[in-house]
Symmetry: C2
Subunit: 152 residues, 2 copies
DNA sequence: TATTTGAATTAGAATGATTCTTGTTCCAAA
DNA sequence: TTTGGAACAAGAATCATTCTAATTCAAATA
């Protein structure tokens, strides 16, 4: 492998360009940039392993551990979101618009569902008295249109 | 271990008393009954390992594998519910009333939150056109009253 | 420019919850 | 009484993820 295969920055300013939408800032190293790019180009909520395989196209030497590491830092920086469904392997998502996920129980596909109206869980459920709510995870399960038409 | 330590049924009809609220029916063997009992007496959403330790009081010879097996069958029979938060180990719950869970991000405690009003996810999120919804998982995260008072 | 420092990266080992496998035990029907 | 199938136990296997230790790199400092 040539020494310049990776760690080459697109910006002349080197690696020290930090970016964070929320949370701690992240140094956008070439690997992190590639991992982010893969997610930004994906709408299918890939797993860490999926990301690994896609990034290998650009950086054949990248390791799965680095992908996990990049995903962790990008998540901490608020650049991507981790999506967990039941106990299946985590998926990742670069859609930062507020949304929840729809999971097809037939094919496993995960798709985004964007908000139509403000949602306040306190209106629907009796929460422990005095609790402070920080966030609500909503996962909608069902059968996607594709699977419905396949069965018909 | 005496041969009658377990497999002794409370009912004279032997093991063949089946029960199911929803889903496939479950043979309520003594082990399954004990696992269910432990959950029915718990409000803290124990993990499989917690259940294992509690059941060992009555059936010291039970194995963790059997506990997992019992939990699986009881879940399939709709007698208990599996509660998954992020990718942490599964917890189990014998509260069959419709409810969601509140998770304290400080102490990890999980508590039930019962419905106050009908909740229709389709009103709040734009779902894939033509999708059929089967269920919605709602997990509310925050800080429980106990942890709030500890920090004050 | 050379050195230092700390983060990024890598490969592989370790972890840990869960599932699987295999052999055994038991119940109930034949 | 025999037999078939489920329940059970013990431990191995799985597998996503995390950790470890060693290396490489980039930016700051000397």
């Amino acid at each position: 492998m040539s020494p310049s295969t990776h760690r080459s920055s697109a910006k002349p300013s080197g690696l020290d360009c930090r970016l964070a939408v929320l949370g701690t800032d992240v140094r956008l190293t070439p690997h992190r940039r590639e991992v982010f790019q893969v997610l930004a180009e994906s709408t299918d909520h890939p797993t860490a392993y999926d990301v690994f395989n896609r990034v290998k196209g650009k950086s054949p030497s990248i390791s799965l551990a680095t992908v996990y590491n990049c995903l962790e830092h990008l998540t901490a920086g608020g650049l991507i979101k981790q999506v967990n469904v039941e106990r299946a392997q985590s998926r990742y998502c670069a859609n930062l618009h507020e949304h929840v996920h729809f999971h097809c129980d037939e094919c496993g596909q995960v798709s985004d569902a964007h908000p139509k109206a403000d949602f306040d869980p306190g209106l629907f459920w009796q929460l422990p008295a005095g609790a402070r709510i920080t966030r609500t995870d909503v996962a909608i399960h069902g059968v996607c249109p594709t699977c419905i038409s396949k069965k018909a």
